[in-house]
């Protein structure tokens, strides 16, 4: 049995908007093991984003327990949560969130700036290595506005890898990309997963979810369905079958 990275039990999250209480999450139990590639799915308002915020240690649950890599996060204060994010988590956002007018390399280095143990030489080496993993070593000195959307998302992926996190959390990481680029990004995610990375991927697109190993579907703050993907898609094969762009004309 592989190691449990994320263990959530009886998790609740309530929001208070005026006098109305919104139950964003009601009694969620969930486990993600090392090496898994999980899609967290659901319609808007299903609670999947709230779940991601809590998994990402950006938000605290109202009740329940969340163990991340053996650490109980509910007892932690803000600064300890920041430390957890810095050393155990990698984030990827829909809109890449790269710093403008900052080279790809410096963007990737960013998380390591907040880790005093990493010296500047080591920081640079790790960032270059992460960019090599996503296939952008030749673009490391480019600014975000000199990169395509797919390349920018690769930089963001490199940034999420640079601190060697126990789990990568992706939030609609392909939401802003066209089909071909989405497949390319999914190919990268599948490659990283094959290398042993644990990935939790929030998406509302069932097509994208089929690239993963397991799907968890949220509805009204509860897990509605949880299943292993039976006919899994492989991005590298799909790309071969895509019509070449010049043929479309």
């Amino acid at each position: 049995m592989s190691k449990v990275i994320i263990q959530v039990s009886d998790l609740r999250k309530d929001y208070y908007i005026g006098e109305v209480t919104v139950h964003a999450l009601r009694k969620v139990d969930m486990e993600i093991n090392e090496g898994e590639f999980v899609a967290i799915m659901g319609a808007s308002g299903s609670g999947k984003s709230t779940m991601l915020n809590i998994l990402g240690c950006l938000d605290k649950p109202t009740a329940g327990e969340y163990m991340l890599d053996g650490v109980a996060m509910s007892k932690m204060n803000k600064n300890q949560l920041a430390l957890l994010r810095n050393q155990k988590l990698g984030f990827i956002f829909q809109s890449y969130n790269l710093l403008p007018r900052t080279t790809a390399l410096e963007n990737v280095e960013l998380p390591l700036y907040y880790n005093p143990k990493v010296k500047s030489k080591e920081r640079r080496e790790k960032a270059i290595h992460a960019l090599e993993l996503v296939g952008l070593a030749d673009r490391m000195h480019h600014m975000p506005n000199q990169l395509s959307g797919g390349q920018q998302q690769r930089v963001a992926i490199a940034r999420s890898l640079v601190n060697d996190p126990v789990v990568i959390l992706a939030d609609e990481a392909t939401g802003n990309l066209d089909t071909r680029t989405s497949y390319e990004i999914m190919e990268l995610f599948q490659k990283l997963n094959d290398q042993g990375k644990t990935i939790a991927f929030v998406t509302h697109e069932p097509d994208i979810a089929r690239f993963m190993k397991r799907n968890i579907v949220f509805r009204d703050g509860r897990i509605q369905k949880e299943a292993m993907v039976t006919n899994r898609l492989f991005a590298s094969e799909l790309i071969k079958n895509l019509p070449v762009e010049t043929d479309a004309i």
Partner: protein
């Protein structure tokens, strides 16, 4: 916390917005520059006035006749005849704090040489007068004791008189000029001294033995004033007290009676003018200080805008592990860097202002190291003070809201 990293982050953030950083600094640059420039101009003008007053003479002390009472009637100052040659003799003998002393009688009139004439003044003095008033001989000699005793008809002339009474190239020494009908043989010519701080031409004068002016020209027995030099500038006050004691005794003034003479020193004049300049400096400095404050508010303003504009960046930094304190320090360091760099440029700018201004106004340039040090401290304080609030606002952002901010 790792300040090296945070400083790097802050420097990079400022570099990303070079133009805005420079514009933000501009307020501080102008503020510090004007504080230093204004203080320097103020101090320069003070020094310049002090120099001009000291140019008038060396540690001068003047004794002028004062009002006297005759049977309960106050007489005016101008016609008072309370000072006499015996006062001068007594002072010369007894005063410890005076290094030189000269009686002074003066009259204005027309000086004539051949077909040229010039209105000027003839002042009767002794040989000490030149050192008291810092006059120097360009040519010739000063009158001797014998000439003073014998009411000799000799004189020393200033450059303005020479220019107006003699053709170019003519040596005035040995020539005779007539002043109020009395022929005076020129035995010396004074070096040019220029205008005094009150705009008076100090070269427009004729000096003659006081005996000659007193008896031959004015036909009086009293003297109009006494000029003296104190042994040093800081002994001026003692010299004044000493003169007052000696003269009160000589004039047989009873206790409670007011002086029938006045004693003034150059040091007093310097103080009076200096206090005016100091006030001017403070006024200029205060106005410049306000512009520094405005510059500081400019920094706060930009930092606020920057926090709002960079909300997403702040969210991202938080999501990759930046703590509230890290974000706070980043923005604080940015603000402090802006104000310190602005301050350094401002100091250079201020020095440039004072250089240009002092050379235009021909003041001595005074670099006030304490003003520079204070400006620098004020800049850092402004950075911390005005950077704190926006930085705090940034640090208190909720990472979820910040990262999703559009």
């Amino acid at each position: 916390m790792n300040y090296t990293n945070l400083t790097k982050i802050a420097v990079n953030a400022l570099k990303r917005n070079k133009f805005r950083s420079i514009l933000t600094m501009l307020g501080i640059i102008i503020g510090v520059g004007s504080v230093i420039g204004m203080l320097s101009i103020g101090q320069g003008s003070k020094k310049s006035i002090q120099n001009q007053i000291s140019e008038m003479g060396s540690n001068m002390v003047f004794v002028m006749p004062g009002s006297q009472q005759r049977g309960g009637v106050m007489m005016g100052n101008s016609n008072a005849k309370t000072l006499t040659l015996s006062d001068v003799e007594k002072l010369k003998k007894e005063a410890q704090y005076l290094s030189a002393i000269s009686p002074q009688v003066s009259t204005s009139g027309q000086a004539v040489n051949g077909n040229k004439n010039w209105p000027t003044s003839c002042t009767g003095v002794n040989a000490d007068y030149l050192s008291i008033r810092k006059y120097e001989l360009e040519d010739g000699r000063i009158f001797t004791e014998k000439e003073i005793e014998s009411l000799a008809k000799v004189c020393i002339v200033g450059q303005t008189v020479v220019e107006n009474l003699f053709d170019k190239g003519v040596d005035p020494i040995g020539q005779t000029v007539r002043f109020s009908g009395i022929p005076l043989k020129i035995i010396g010519v004074l070096k040019e001294k220029g205008e005094s701080s009150m705009g008076q031409d100090q070269d427009d004068l004729i000096l003659a033995p006081y005996t000659s002016v007193q008896r031959r020209i004015l036909a009086i027995t009293h003297i109009q004033s006494i000029s003296a030099s104190a042994v040093s500038e800081d002994k001026s006050d003692e010299a004044i007290t000493e003169i007052e004691t000696i003269l009160r005794r000589e004039h047989k003034l009873k206790e409670g009676e007011s002086n029938d003479f006045q004693v003034r020193s150059q040091a007093e004049m310097i103080q009076t003018f200096s206090s005016v300049s100091d006030m001017l400096t403070m006024l200029l400095g205060a106005i410049a200080g306000i512009s520094l404050l405005v510059g500081g508010i400019g920094i706060m303003n930009i930092m606020f805008v920057s926090v709002t504009e960079r909300t997403k960046e702040i969210g991202l930094r938080m999501s990759v592990g930046g703590r509230g304190i890290d974000i706070l320090m980043q923005f604080l360091i940015e603000a402090v860097l802006l104000s310190i760099i602005g301050g350094i440029i401002g100091i250079l700018f201020g020095l440039a202002i004072s250089y240009v201004a002092t050379s235009l106004l021909s003041f001595p340039m005074i670099i006030m190291t304490n003003a520079i040090a204070i400006s620098f401290l004020v800049c850092s304080a402004i950075g911390i003070f005005f950077g704190w609030y926006p930085a705090k606002k940034a640090a208190n952002l909720n990472p979820i809201d910040a990262i999703r901010h559009e």
